[in-house]
């Protein structure tokens, strides 16, 4: 399992080489160590889960990947190159998109405009061309709109296209946020608790979308999730964190039988 040779999963998906490699990441806030010397990799085409109890440092890890936090120690390798310290928007341009634990949609804009913001990294016309609009800017707008419309079809949210996101129910907001991330056509998609606060049907829908994204677009996905059932069903490999340390890494089955993981989740019996 740990080899770098490409392989094909049981359901026929192609898993390639290492896409992202986190090496010895340590992150401190003042005196608190949120992440302690953690290394793991994410391979092309796989669904990689990060799990752990509350406060384990999962979201911090995602924030390190997306460049929002800068680790004091350790290296981030992306597509075979060491990534220098970057601003979040530069990371986004590398092809890393994400969703947020507490929905971070732009409340003052329509669903369509929100998803169009996901295309920003692909849109290049200058200020002057945009001021004139006719010609270059309009052509670019239409081309990108076509991409966005495909994603809208894919996630089945055609009916709410022009609705302001502020009016949407929670489950749909989560889906719009996924759409915005997908619109960037990312090489790596980070999902921070995509199913938090959802009921069973909504979770099933979301799981289906995640699997479809991975399957149809071949997008590599790293996700944080609390629902163990979902994690075990969805993911190819799982990293388990507890108090900022890595306590397990492997296939769902391996992790499930790891004693340390069981202790972290169920607690250790005190003598």
């Amino acid at each position: 399992m740990d080899g770098v040779a490409p392989y094909v999963t049981a359901d026929g998906r192609q898993i390639g080489g290492v896409l992202m490699d986190m090496r010895g990441i340590t992150l401190r806030f003042g005196g608190v160590e949120a992440i302690k010397n953690i290394s793991f990799d994410i391979r092309e085409g796989e669904i990689r889960a990060i799990i752990g109890p509350n406060g384990a440092g999962k979201s911090s890890m995602l924030n390190v990947i997306s460049g929002f936090y800068h680790p004091q120690d350790g290296e981030v390798w992306f597509r075979g190159e060491k990534r220098p310290p970057m601003k979040p928007y530069q990371v986004a341009r590398l092809g890393i998109a994400r969703t947020f634990q507490n929905i971070a949609l732009f409340e003052g804009m329509s669903v369509l405009d929100n998803i169009m913001t996901g295309r920003l990294t692909h849109m290049k016309t200058g200020l002057l061309a945009q001021a004139i609009w006719k010609g270059k800017a309009e052509a670019e707008e239409v081309a990108n709109r076509e991409v966005v419309e495909k994603i809208i079809d894919f996630l089945e949210i055609q009916a709410i296209r022009k609705t302001p996101v502020g009016r949407l129910p929670y489950g749909l907001k989560k889906r719009v946020e996924l759409a915005r991330a997908l619109a960037a056509e990312p090489k790596l998609l980070l999902l921070d608790e995509p199913m938090a606060g959802m009921n069973v049907e909504e979770k099933e829908d979301m799981s289906r979308f995640i699997l479809d994204v991975n399957d149809e677009f071949g997008t590599t996905i790293a996700l944080i999730e609390h629902d163990m059932g979902v994690v075990m069903d969805l993911s190819d490999r799982v990293v388990v964190m507890d108090y900022g340390r890595k306590i397990g890494d492997g296939t769902p089955d391996e992790v499930r039988n790891n004693q340390e993981v069981i202790d972290a989740y169920l607690g250790v019996a005190h003598e």
Partner: protein, 332 residues
């Protein structure tokens, strides 16, 4: 010691005293901001309004006389009595408390949970409103505030210090009123700190400042606390209004001192009472010194108009939370 240097010291001392007055206005901002997250742009107009009200009551003016005359064709202006200063101050305090209640009841109660910037813009509206009301109530001419506060330079200080320099140094010129203002400001600050530390209401106020939800859950009435802090801010405004009014007359420009308090707050941090005081001193001394050393000789003077803002601006770029503010860790 050379005379220039001594005059420099005099500038610093006068700057410190001006700074105390800035700090006094800034204090009103901090009170409201800590308890409700409202950045009250109207603080300066409140000072103007309070001073106008005080003068109006003392002189026995009929409120809204101008308007009443216009509407009913009457010709009234004064009740024909004079109210003693102490009683007038007391009545003004009551007016400011009524104002605090009205503000809370009619405006900010309906804006709970709005973004800070919306609240800020609402207070700009409030400033206009209150300025208009003040003018309608008491008229807009320049008034003198005759509270019998000492005025003019202090001869005593001048004589005491004239020996420090050579022949061309005549001692420090320090306005008595500034000395009184400094004293009052210090007493007021001490009083506020004691109030916040040792009384039940003070504790509740600090609880609200810390966390609205938690304060609610232990049974503190938010709207009561907000009326309380607006009242306190009104009283602080009255004191500031008296000091500035006695110094330069009660007129519209009084409300502009509020704008001076803004850079004070940016320096000191919006949540810190010591910050407001230290910030006030820095701005007061800074602008006087800058005017004395650079502004007046090289730049054509009147640099006090903008120096405080520029100082705060430059300072903020390097330390966005101010001197004493808490550092904000951003999260997603």
């Amino acid at each position: 010691m050379s005379a220039d240097f001594l005059y420099g010291i005099e500038v610093v001392i006068n700057g410190l005293m001006a700074g105390v007055l800035y700090a006094l206005v800034a204090l009103g901002f901090v009170l409201i901001f800590k308890a409700s997250g409202i950045f009250n742009f109207a603080q300066g107009v409140m000072a103007l309004f309070a001073a106008l009200t005080l003068v109006g009551i003392m002189e026995g003016q009929v409120p809204f006389a101008h308007l009443i005359n216009a509407v009913f064709g009457t010709n009234i202006h004064h009740f024909g009595w004079q109210v003693p200063a102490i009683l007038a101050i007391f009545m003004t305090v009551l007016v400011m408390i009524a104002f605090a209640w009205a503000v809370q009841h009619f405006v900010f109660r309906h804006l709970v949970g709005q973004e800070p910037i919306i609240l800020f813009m609402a207070t700009i509206g409030l400033a206009y409103f209150l300025e208009g009301v003040g003018d309608l109530m008491w008229g807009s001419s320049i008034r003198t505030l005759a509270l019998g506060l000492p005025q003019g330079g202090s001869l005593w200080v001048e004589e005491m210090t004239s020996g420090l320099g050579g022949d061309d140094f005549y001692g420090f010129f320090i306005d008595k009123l500034d000395m009184v203002a400094t004293l009052v400001a210090l007493v007021l600050v001490a009083g506020l700190v004691a109030f916040a530390q040792y009384t039940k209401q003070g504790r509740a106020m600090r609880a609200v400042a810390d966390d609205h939800q938690a304060a609610l859950s232990v049974g503190i009435s938010l709207s009561y606390i907000w009326v309380l802090v607006w009242s306190l801010a009104g009283i602080v405004a009255l004191v500031a209004g008296i000091m500035w009014g006695a110094k330069s007359g009660v007129q519209f420009s009084l409300s502009l001192i509020a704008l001076k308090a803004l850079p004070v707050l940016m320096l000191g941090g919006f949540t810190s009472i010591p910050g407001a005081i230290v910030g006030g001193m820095i701005i007061g001394v800074g602008e006087k010194l800058f005017e004395y050393t650079i502004g007046a000789p090289y730049l054509g003077g009147a640099t006090e108009n903008w120096f405080a803002y520029m100082l705060a601006l430059v300072f903020l770029v390097f330390r966005p939370q101010g001197l004493f503010g808490e550092r904000i860790i951003e999260r997603v």
